[in-house]
């Protein structure tokens, strides 16, 4: 619709906002041409001046106050639920941490107790076994290197333990010490197949549990246990390469499946 207005074209673009602000604030604008808008503004303002009944205010105020209490209560419950959830999670984590700590302390204690063992002591086998996996002396990488050398894969710069260097010599020697050492080597070979240090430690942990369960160190029993570990691992980890970890033979460290 074309609007016929006495205002010059472009006048509104030149209109300063100050005049409109004055109008809206109920003051006369500087530009007289805007004066008729004053009545329009007044009429619209009157829409907000319609009195609100006290009943309406009282009713809605009471509802709002009750609503606030409701929201506060809901928030409190939500916080309570959250705190309960947090407490449960915390309890679970503390439990797990405590178990881990007990295992570490237990294993460390065993390692510490066995560290000073000499041939003939009941825990000498444990000492040697732990040495193989690097608990108590040396590092896991170093011990794995030793085992690699023992399989004929020389790793320059790595020391080779006497026990691992010549396993063939002990092929039929199933003394308590060599049985334990062999079992531990099997555990290491299982772990090294997946490149996972945690699996090695888990295997050693199971080995120690086994030792505790039989009450005494028996080379034959330990070797049997090592074979059991190997077969259990192979059945559960079928994705390993075919040449990875052949079953350990008596008195002989297992194949690790690692190519030199």
């Amino acid at each position: 619709m074309k609007v016929d207005t006495p205002l010059r074209d472009g006048m509104w673009s030149e209109l300063i906002d100050r005049d409109l602000n004055l109008l809206i604030e109920g003051k006369p604008p500087l530009n007289e041409d805007l004066a008729p808008l004053g009545s329009f503004v007044v009429s619209l303002c009157e829409l907000a001046d319609v009195p609100v009944s006290p009943e309406f205010v009282r009713d809605h105020a009471a509802k709002a106050a009750a609503n606030v209490q409701l929201v506060k209560s809901a928030n409190a419950n939500s916080r309570l639920t959250s705190s309960r959830r947090l407490a449960l999670a915390l309890r679970r984590r503390v439990g797990a941490a405590a178990t881990s700590l007990m295992m570490i302390v237990g294993m460390t204690g065993v390692a510490w107790a066995a560290d000073s063992a000499v041939p003939g002591d009941w825990n000498y086998g444990i000492d040697r076994a732990l040495e193989v996996v690097g608990i108590g002396a040396g590092g896991t990488a170093e011990r794995l290197g030793e085992l690699a050398v023992s399989r004929g894969e020389d790793v320059p710069g790595k020391s080779v333990s006497a026990s691992a260097r010549n396993p063939e010599a002990r092929q039929n020697d199933l003394s308590d010490v060599s049985g334990l050492e062999h079992a531990t080597a099997t555990v290491v070979s299982i772990g090294s197949g997946s490149q996972n240090g945690n699996e090695i430690r888990e295997g050693v942990s199971r080995l120690l549990e086994f030792l505790a369960s039989i009450g005494e160190i028996d080379g034959q029993a330990v070797a049997e246990y090592a074979r059991h570990l190997r077969s259990a691992q192979e059945s559960s980890d079928s994705h390993l390469p075919e040449d990875a970890g052949k079953p350990a033979e008596t008195g002989k460290p297992a194949e690790t499946g690692k190519s030199g």
Binding site: T5, G26, L44, C45, A48, V68
Partner: protein, 193 residues
């Protein structure tokens, strides 16, 4: 003329009490904002401004705990809720509003214009209604919030999520259109009828 709140220094204590759920504090806040909120809804043609205002207060009660700010920003907060309520009303009640307003306004104006969201107060001069009906919805938003709600240009920008320049532009163009409508009426017309 301005319909701004006037609690001044007491605003903070009233707000704190309202957050705690004190009836008296809510009554004070309602006494200050109920009129402008309902006026805003009337200016936008809502059939039941009181019901819409009640919805705004309900939302306000739910969200007040998270509000921190001055009396001015509180007003912006309230009208942001009111504007959302208006959008909901327009979205879900377009057909109903169109029918109601068409019956009420078109008969009076005898003009083929978009009447959604125009003034619904029966005591408003018909020329004002007609002028307002000629505005675009955006211009109505700005002029309603500026004049009826008493918000500043900056506050309107916050409510509408628009820049200050855009709000000023909509205000200028809206007022120009109203002025043009006024020029069309017979000489001697007075809005103060």
């Amino acid at each position: 003329m301005m319909t701004g709140m006037s609690l001044g220094k007491s605003f903070e204590s009233v707000l704190d009490a309202a957050k705690l759920g004190a009836d008296w504090a809510w009554a004070v806040l309602y006494g200050e904002i109920a009129g402008p909120v309902m006026g805003f809804f009337r200016s936008r043609g809502l059939a039941d401004p009181e019901e819409a205002a009640g919805d705004v207060f309900f939302e306000l009660a739910r969200g007040l705990a998270d509000f921190e700010g001055t009396e001015e920003s509180f007003r912006t907060f309230v009208f942001a809720i009111a504007y959302r309520r208006l959008l909901v009303e327009n979205r879900f009640s377009t057909r109903r509003s169109r029918t109601l307003l068409a019956d009420r306004v078109l008969d009076r104006l005898q003009a083929d214009v978009d009447v959604i969201g125009v003034v619904s107060a029966p005591d408003i001069p018909r020329e004002v209604v007609r002028a307002f009906s000629m505005l675009t919805p955006e211009q109505r938003d700005v002029l309603s919030l500026r004049i009826v709600a008493g918000l500043s240009v900056e506050q309107v920008g916050e409510v509408l999520n628009r820049g200050v320049k855009k709000v000023k532009s909509l205000q200028r163009r809206g007022m120009a259109r109203v002025r043009a409508q006024i020029s069309q009426v017979d000489e001697g017309f007075s809005y103060e009828s």
